[in-house]
């Protein structure tokens, strides 16, 4: 599903990402680890199509990554940082809106939104606005927005941020279920717990940028 072949990124003479290679099939999870500055987020951005590699090639589902391509948008869901959250929508409204734009059947959109909210423990927070959430709740809200849409590849940068151990376990369960349903996950993380629970492959970035 994902083929990364000697991908490296150099910008203005600075190496942001030393050449790496990794491959992952459907239903597998790649965990990217490394010290700060080794290029984890840069690699995720290359996979998401917002950064062109200086060397090497990236293919997802056999085709070169093209962020604005319509079929690529459907294929890949990316969360690096928090997604933009509408200030005038409640948690439930926003997750439902995302689902609505992807699924033609309104009932399916509502069902998916509700199930995602329940999976992440956000059901009781459904009527809150984004500014009324704690930092951990906001992180879960961001994940809910990502999961309310269809994808075959899910790219996440440190999804465990701001979460307590109980909610990290919750996120692990949710991600594991997506992986088991056939999605390919690429997760950058510092969490040993998340790595051990999810990883089929571990990519250790060692050379500092």
């Amino acid at each position: 599903m994902i083929m990364v072949d000697h991908v490296g990124v150099i910008s203005s003479g600075t190496t942001l990402l030393s050449p790496v290679s990794i491959a992952a099939s459907r239903g597998e999870a790649v965990v990217v680890r490394g010290r700060n500055g080794t290029g984890k987020s840069t690699l995720l951005r290359v996979l998401a199509g917002v950064r062109k590699p200086s060397t090497g090639t990236v293919r997802i589902n056999g085709t070169v990554v093209a962020e604005r391509d319509r079929s690529f948008r459907r294929l890949v869901s990316t969360m690096i940082g928090l997604p933009p959250m509408a200030s005038d929508l409640t948690v439930r409204d926003h997750v439902t809106l995302v689902a609505t734009t992807w699924f033609d059947d309104p009932a399916v959109a509502v069902d998916i939104a509700e199930s995602v909210l329940e999976e992440l423990g956000l059901g009781e927070l459904g009527e809150r606005f984004a500014h009324e959430l704690s930092s951990g709740q906001t992180q879960l809200f961001g994940l809910a927005l990502m999961l309310a849409r269809p994808f075959e590849v899910l790219i996440l940068d440190e999804p465990e941020q701001r979460l307590d151990p109980e909610h990290i376990e919750c996120v692990i369960r949710v991600l594991r279920s997506r992986r088991d349903r056939g999605a390919t996950l690429v997760v950058a993380t510092h969490s040993v717990v998340l790595t051990e629970a999810l990883a089929d492959h571990v990519l250790e970035l060692e050379t500092a940028a």
Partner: protein, 466 residues
């Protein structure tokens, strides 16, 4: 130096407008004294309202905290910012009165005694405004209620003109240079003195939480403004959504445009105060467009003001547009293309703009006896251009680093002015859009040029959105 370079031309432009035939016609109109009273009512209502979010007693956060937890009485600790605010407000009122009065006097429409009287009373109006501003800060909820009370009574005064004489703001009108005169000074001075006497007691009621919250907000807003991010500065003071949370804003249907219209409508309802102000601003913009087409009116000036007010009025209606602009600059979240996402979010604000401005233009045209055709076309053109300006503003992003490049010339470095122009481009274009809308039939090329500029800026920002 920058203040001199900008303030003197602006001041000169204001004086020339006031002294122009159209400006004099406005200032010497028989309704000018009554209009002055209504302006004062609006000023006092505004002071109460503004005080609830940004009062006259604001210092940097650290200083505020240190003084607020000290043993010093509030009146002693925070006297300086109040005095500073009071001097500014009083000076502005006096200067505005001075411009109006001297313009009338320079054309023989008022004598020097009338000029002096009007300036003095305007200074008293400024002092009263400052105290009301403080009242709004000390009693925010009462301040908001008081503001609406003043607006309501002022509105009644427009329907029953004799009633205005009993309201304090009604005492200002007779002091207008072309007014009938009267005991305004004594009454207003007594009112001002009694209100100023309450200041120490009011200030000693300022709470620690309110003081520090307002200080933090102002500090954040000025930091954004210093970086020319005026949108973020305004956002600091925007009311956050709180109402109608139990009404589902997203009701999935097979007709996606309708889903977005409902989403934006209910989203707007969640800040009801902002929505009301936004709609009223669109009504005001439509009214000004009609007035601009009336004979003897400074059309281009009224058009400029209408453009600015229309732009402001669209703010509460375009939260969806702002979110969509953020979304199209980020990783794909929605299952529809970027162009369609933005377009869907313009449906609601455009619909409201059309309905409100058509209604305002129809009513005002009938009242003023102005033909409806030209103002209607002008108002709709203005609504469309300011909507595009709103989309452009949402797509703007951060200050381009190239604008930080110094460019020494024989006349100095103009880049500071360029940066300010960039920061205020939406307001400037909206003002030009307003002027071009009212001059649409006299100078159609001007209107087409402004329209083309607004669209070109939008296309440029769209292409660089990521």
């Amino acid at each position: 130096m920058l203040a001199l370079v900008t303030m003197i031309p602006v001041g000169r432009a204001v004086w020339l407008s006031a002294a122009s035939p159209e400006g004099l016609a406005l200032l010497s109109d028989a309704m000018a004294p009554r209009a002055t009273s209504l302006v004062v009512a609006a000023l006092w209502a505004g002071a109460l309202l503004v005080g609830s979010t940004r009062g006259p007693v604001v210092l940097p956060p650290l200083l505020t905290h240190a003084l607020a937890v000290s043993d010093l009485p509030r009146f002693e600790a925070f006297r300086s910012p109040l005095l500073r605010s009071g001097v500014i407000v009083t000076t502005v009122c006096a200067v505005a009165a001075g411009v109006i009065a001297t313009s009338l006097a320079s054309h023989g429409l008022a004598d020097m005694a009338g000029v002096a009287r009007f300036i003095l009373i305007s200074a008293i109006v400024g002092a009263i405004s400052t105290v009301l501003w403080l009242v709004g800060q000390v009693f925010p909820r009462t301040g908001v209620g008081g503001a609406f009370g003043i607006v309501t009574i002022g509105w009644i005064g427009t329907l029953a003109p004799s009633a205005i004489d009993y309201a304090p703001w009604g005492w200002v009108g007779p002091a207008y240079p072309t007014g009938e005169g009267g005991p305004s000074f004594v009454a207003l001075a007594a009112l001002a003195l009694s209100m100023v006497a309450l200041v120490p007691a009011l200030m000693n009621r300022l709470g620690f939480v309110a003081l520090t919250a307002q200080a933090a907000r102002w500090d954040s807003a000025t930091a954004h403004a210093t970086g020319l991010d005026f949108s973020s500065a305004m956002t600091t003071y925007q009311t956050r959504p709180h109402a109608a949370r139990n009404i589902r804003a997203v009701r999935p249907s097979t007709h996606l445009p309708w889903t977005f219209v409902v989403r934006d409508a209910i989203g707007a309802l969640r800040t009801p105060g902002r929505l009301i102000v936004g709609v009223l601003a669109l009504v005001a913009a439509g009214t000004l467009v009609v007035m601009a087409f009336a004979p003897g009116m400074p059309g281009w000036l009224l058009g400029c003001v209408a453009g600015l007010i229309a732009f402001a009025g669209l703010g509460p209606l375009t939260e969806g547009v702002r979110h969509a602009a953020s979304a199209v600059a980020d990783f794909p979240l929605y299952g529809i293309g970027d162009e369609r996402l933005i377009a869907q979010h313009t449906l609601f604000p455009l619909a409201v703009t059309v309905i409100v401005t058509v209604g305002a233009v129809a009513v005002c045209s009938a009242i003023m006896g102005v033909g409806i055709g030209a103002p209607l076309v002008g108002a709709l053109a203005l609504g469309l251009m300011t909507m595009i300006a709103r989309v452009n503003n949402a797509l703007k992003g951060g200050l381009p680093t190239v604008l930080l490049t110094p460019m020494p010339t024989a006349a100095g470095d103009p880049m500071a002015a360029v940066r300010i122009l960039w920061a205020l481009d939406a307001l400037i274009l909206s003002a030009f859009a307003g002027a071009s809308a009212v001059l649409l039939f006299e100078a159609p090329i001007f209107g087409m040029s402004i329209g083309a500029a607004v669209i070109a800026i939008g296309i440029s920002r769209w292409r660089s959105r990521r």
